[in-house]
Amino acid sequence: MHDIVIIGGGHNGLVAACYLAKAGLRVTVLERQESVGGGAVTEELEPGFRVSSLDHATGPFSKSVVSDLDLGRFGLELLTPEVQLLGLTPDGESLAIFNDTERTAKEINKFSARDANKYAEFAGCFARIGAVLSPLLSMTPPSLDQPSAGEVWQLGKFGLAFRGLGKKDEYRLLRWGPMAVADLVAEWFETELLRAMIAARGISGASAGPWSAGTSLGLLWQAALGGSPIAPAEYVKGGLGNLTQSLSKAAESFGVEVRTLSTVSRIDFSNADRVSITLKTGESLEARAAVSNADPKSTFLQLVDPVDLDPNFLSKLRNYRAVGTVAKINLALSALPPFKAIKSDDNLTRLAGRIHIGPEIDYLERAFDSAKYGEFSPHPFLDITIPSLSDPTLAPSGKHVMSILAQFAPYKLKAGDWATNEQLFADAVIDTLSHYAPGIKDVITSLQVITPVDLESNYGLTGGHIHHGEQALDQFFTFRPL
C-alpha cells in the first residue's frame, strides 16, 4: 500500500509530493497527460518556437520552496527582467514599473510629480502590510468552528503582528480588504494609466471589474506574496514547463513515483483505513491518504461517489464559484512587432517584463461589463509577455514568441459556443493589440487560442478558471474552497 497518492501532477501536486517524500512517506503522483505540469507547461507552437501554454510568469514562485527543494540543482533557472510591467496608451505613451522603486518613481514623474512621491509611500505601505500577511500564505487556514490550540496560537501570532503595524496601517488593512480596487488606486494616484496598471492585479483572472467591491484583496494578496504592489515579471528559463519539470525531477530524487498517462476515474472512501483510487485502465491503487491537486469541483463531483459525501457539503460545493474569464493566445512572430511606445531599439528592454493593455479604469470595467452578460470583451484587457526577449532559447534568432492572457472571455457565452467564437475573439485581441503595436498582424506566423472551454477540457480546470475558483472574499483563506 502507498502512503500517499497525489492526483494531478501540476506544480502544487508536485510540491506537495516533494515535501511529503522528504518527510519519509511513500508517494505516487498520478498525471492524466503524457507529461507533468498541469497549467504550468511549455508547448511548441511551431518548430523552434516554444511558449508557456497557460500562465506565462510565476506568481512569483515561493523562494522558500526553491531553496527547500534545491530546485536549481534540478534545472530551474528564474529570469527577472528589470521591468516589471509596461503600461501602454493608444497614443504611444508608456509607463514602466521597475523592480527598483526609485527608478519607478522617476518614471512616474514624467506623468505626475505627486504620483511619483506617492508611489514610494504606497510601495512602503505594501511592504509593511505584506510582511504581516505573508505568514497567512504558509499556514493552514484555521477552522472557524473548532479552532485547534495550534490554530489559535497561529492566529494569535498574526494578531500580534497586526498590532505591530501601528494604527494607521492597521486601519488601512481593515479598510482595503473589502474595497473596490478602483477606489483604492484613486485615493493614491491621479495618473489614469498608473491607476489602471495597479488595479489590474485586483481583477486578474477574476470575474470582477475594478469597480467590484473586494477587488483590493487581489492587491493585498500580491503584497503578501512579494511585498510589492506590482508583481515582478518572473520567468522560468525554457518556459513554465521547466518549473514543473524541475519539480518532477526533484520529486523523483526524493523517491516519488511519478506516473503519467494515468487518469483517475474514481476515489473510494468506503474503507475506513484506506483510500482506493481507480484508474481509467481499471487498475486500482490503495493508499493511506489521497491528495488532490485537481480543483475541488472535479475532485468531488467527478471522482467521488456522491453517496460518500454529506449532501450539505455537496450543495456548498456546487455553489463554489469557478467560472473562468480568461483566454490565452500564443503567437509565433517572425520579428518583434513595432510598438508605438518604443521609439528606438535601445528601449527594447522596456518590453521585457509584462505588458499591460488597459489604459483606463473605465476601459477595464467596460471589458468586464461584456462578461457579465455572457459576451467576450470587444476591447479586452491584455496581459502580455514576450519571453523570448529574456530567454533566447524559446525562439529562433531574431524571432519571438508572444503570450497573451486576454480578459474577459467568459466560460459561458450567451450566443453561440466557443468553437464558433474562438476566431472572433482572437481577432478582437489582435485588433486591440494593433492599436498599440501596428503591424503586429504582418509578423504573426502561428496563432494558438486557448479558450476557457479548452482550459476545462484540455487542462482539467473546471469552468475554465485559472485559479481553481474565484478568489473573492467569501472564497478566501478559511473559506477556500468551502
Binding site: 468552528d145 494604527k167 492597521e170 481593515l174 467590484s212 452578460y373 473573492a472 467569501d474
Partner: protein, 528 residues
C-alpha cells in the same frame, strides 16, 4: 430661548431628535437647531401640491429601533405604523411576481414560477432570521476600536466573537457570505427564478453606488428580515401621515422631556476654542453656548463647512476626503387623479397597497448600474413605488392618490450636463419606465416633483445626494464609519459628537445612531 445649553444638537432629523430626547430625559438642557421650516430632515412629510402630502424623501419604515419606540413612548406621541403588505413586481411578458406577508400565499406564488424555489424560500427565510438575530444586537452597540487595547473595546469584540462561535456551523458560513458576497451570487445559491432574485437583490443596492452583482450587497438582504414592527420580524410599514409623522412624534417626545426646538435656524459654524467645541454661531449671527455640540448632519457639513479643515488634524481631513458619498438615487413624487393600471394585473387591488418594484430581471438591474458607472442616469432604472394614500387616505384629496417613486440609478456626478438641465429628462425617463408597465400613468399625473441627487443635497443637506449620509459599503461600516478611529461618536474636536446616519449603524429611519451617541455622551459626561 436662552443662549446657554448643556447640548446643542445640529439638525432636526430623526436622529438629531432621538439624540436630543435621550439627553433631555437624562436631565440635560438641550436645544435642537433645524435649518428648514419643518422637522424631520429626510424623514419629512410636506404638502408639495395643495391637498397632496408626500413623504418627500424616505417613504417606508421598518428599521426604527423598537427600544426607541418603547423608551420614548412614541405611540403616545402620535406614531402609528400602518402595514405595507408585500411587493408586486410586474414583468414585461405580462406575468408578475407578488410576494405578500402571508407566507403560504407567497409560497404558492413562487411555486408558480419554480417549485424548487418555493421550497428553498422556506429554508432561506429560516436561515435569514437566524442571522438577523445574530446581527441585531450589533445595531445598538458602540463599535469597538479593533486597534485599541482598552478593555471596553476588547469586551465588545469578544462579545461578538462569542456570539459568532455559538452560531451553528452553517450559519457561520452564511454570515460570512452575507458580509462579503454580492446579493445575486448569494441568492443564486438558493433560487433560480430571475425575477425573484432581481426583486430581492434590489434591497441590497438601495442608496449605494453598487450593482446587484457587486460584492458586499448581500448584507442588506438581512435588513428585510430585521424590520420589526410591534415585535414582528420582516414587516414594513407606512407611518400614518407620512414619514414626517415619525419625526414629529419623536419631536413631541423630545419637547415633553424638555428639549427646545428651533426651526429656520441655519448654523454658520461651530465655535471651537483650544480644540474644544464651545457652541455654535447661527447664520443670522446669534451665538449659542453649549457644553457639548452634537451634530446629526453629515461629516462634510459638520467638519468642512462648520469647522474648516484648517482647524482639524491633517490625517483626519484626508480620511474625511476618502469618505464616499456619491449619491446614486433620485425620487419622483406624483400626485395622481386615480390609480395606475398595471398590464400584469389590471384593475385596482391589494397588489397596489404594497411596494411595486420595477425590477424585472437581474440583467435589467445590472444594466441600470452600468450606465451610472459611466456617469449617466439609467435609461431604464430600478424603481420602488408605493401609493400610501391607499392605506392612509389622509394624505390625498378624496379619490386622488400620491405615489412615491424611489429611483436608482441617478449618479450625483453626471458625465455630460448638469442635473438642473437633466431634471426633466430624468423625470420623463421614470414616467416612461412606469408607463411600460402601467400605460395609463401619464394621463393620471396632476403634478410631479422630481428630486435629483443635486436637489437632495441642496434641499435636505445630504452631501452629494447620498440618502444615508455616506455609502453603506463594507469599508464604511461599523468601526470604519464614518472614518477609521472615529467610529465611537466622538470627533477630534473635544466635546463635539456625531449622531447622524454617517455613524454606526448607518442610514434608514432607524434612530440607532442618535440613541447610541446619546448614551455615549452621557457616559462621557463626567469627563466633559
Amino acid at each position: 430661548m436662552n443662549n446657554k445649553y448643556d447640548v446643542v444638537v445640529i439638525g432636526g432629523g430623526h436622529n438629531g431628535l432621538v439624540n436630543a430626547a435621550y439627553l433631555a430625559r437624562a436631565g440635560k438642557k438641550v436645544l435642537v437647531l433645524e435649518r428648514r421650516h419643518v422637522l424631520g430632515g429626510a424623514a419629512v412629510t410636506e404638502e408639495v401640491f395643495p391637498g397632496f402630502k408626500f413623504s418627500v424623501c424616505s417613504y417606508v419604515v421598518s428599521l426604527l429601533r423598537p427600544e426607541i419606540i418603547r423608551e420614548l413612548d412614541l405611540p403616545r406621541h402620535g406614531l402609528e405604523i400602518l402595514p405595507l403588505d408585500g411587493t408586486f413586481t410586474p414583468m414585461p411578458n405580462g406575468d408578475h411576481l407578488w410576494r405578500v406577508n402571508d407566507h403560504a400565499r407567497t409560497r404558492r406564488e413562487i411555486a408558480r414560477h419554480s417549485r424548487l424555489d418555493a421550497e428553498a424560500y422556506d429554508e432561506y427565510g429560516k436561515a435569514m432570521i437566524e442571522m438577523a438575530h445574530f446581527v441585531k444586537p450589533v445595531m445598538s452597540m458602540m463599535p469597538p476600536d479593533p486597534t485599541s487595547l482598552k478593555p471596553a473595546d476588547w469586551k465588545n469584540l469578544a462579545f461578538m466573537g462569542r456570539r459568532f462561535q455559538k452560531l451553528p456551523a452553517d450559519d457561520k458560513y452564511n454570515t460570512v457570505q452575507l458580509m462579503t458576497m454580492s446579493a445575486v451570487d448569494f441568492l443564486d445559491q438558493w433560487f433560480e427564478t430571475d425575477v425573484l432574485k432581481a426583486t430581492m437583490s434590489a434591497s441590497g443596492i438601495i442608496g449605494t453606488f453598487l450593482g446587484v452583482r457587486s460584492p458586499g450587497t448581500a448584507y442588506v438582504l438581512l435588513h428585510h428580515y430585521m424590520g420589526e414592527i410591534d415585535g414582528a420580524f420582516r414587516s414594513w410599514g407606512f407611518a400614518r401621515g407620512g414619514t414626517g409623522a415619525i419625526s414629529n412624534s419623536i419631536g413631541a417626545a423630545a419637547r415633553e422631556a424638555g428639549v427646545e426646538i428651533l426651526t429656520e435656524a441655519p448654523i454658520a459654524r461651530i465655535k471651537v476654542k483650544n480644540g474644544k467645541a464651545i457652541g455654535v454661531v447661527l447664520e443670522n449671527g446669534d451665538e449659542i453656548q453649549a457644553e457639548v455640540v452634537s451634530s446629526s448632519v453629515d461629516p462634510r457639513l459638520t467638519f468642512t463647512k462648520m469647522i474648516g479643515n484648517e482647524n482639524l488634524p491633517d490625517d483626519f481631513c484626508a480620511d474625511l476626503d476618502r469618505y464616499k458619498y456619491r449619491g446614486s438615487s433620485g425620487k419622483v413624487n406624483l400626485a395622481l387623479a386615480g390609480l395606475p393600471d398595471f398590464k400584469a394585473m389590471p384593475g385596482p387591488g391589494a397588489h397596489l397597497r404594497g411596494a411595486i418594484s420595477i425590477s424585472p430581471g437581474v440583467e435589467y438591474m445590472e444594466r441600470a448600474y452600468d450606465e451610472a458607472k459611466y456617469g449617466r442616469f439609467s435609461r431604464r432604472p430600478y424603481i420602488d413605488m408605493v401609493i400610501p394614500s391607499l392605506t392612509d387616505p389622509s394624505v390625498a384629496p378624496p379619490g386622488k392618490h400620491v405615489m412615491s417613486c424611489f429611483v436608482q440609478y441617478a449618479p450625483y456626478n453626471l458625465k455630460e450636463g448638469s442635473w438642473d438641465e437633466k431634471r426633466d429628462e430624468f423625470g420623463e425617463t421614470v414616467i416612461d419606465t412606469i408607463a411600460e408597465h402601467a400605460p395609463n400613468i401619464r394621463d393620471l399625473i396632476i403634478d410631479r416633483q422630481v428630486l435629483t441627487p443635486l436637489d437632495l443635497e441642496r434641499d435636505f443637506g445630504l452631501s452629494e445626494g447620498n440618502i444615508f449620509q455616506g455609502e453603506l459599503t463594507l469599508e464604511q461600516l461599523f468601526f470604519l464609519r464614518p472614518v477609521p478611529g472615529w467610529a465611537q461618536y466622538r470627533t477630534p474636536i473635544k466635546n463635539l459628537y456625531m449622531c447622524g446616519s454617517a455613524t454606526h449603524p448607518g442610514g434608514g429611519i432607524m434612530g440607532a445612531p442618535g440613541r447610541n451617541a446619546a448614551l455615549k455622551m452621557l457616559k462621557d459626561w463626567k469627563r466633559i
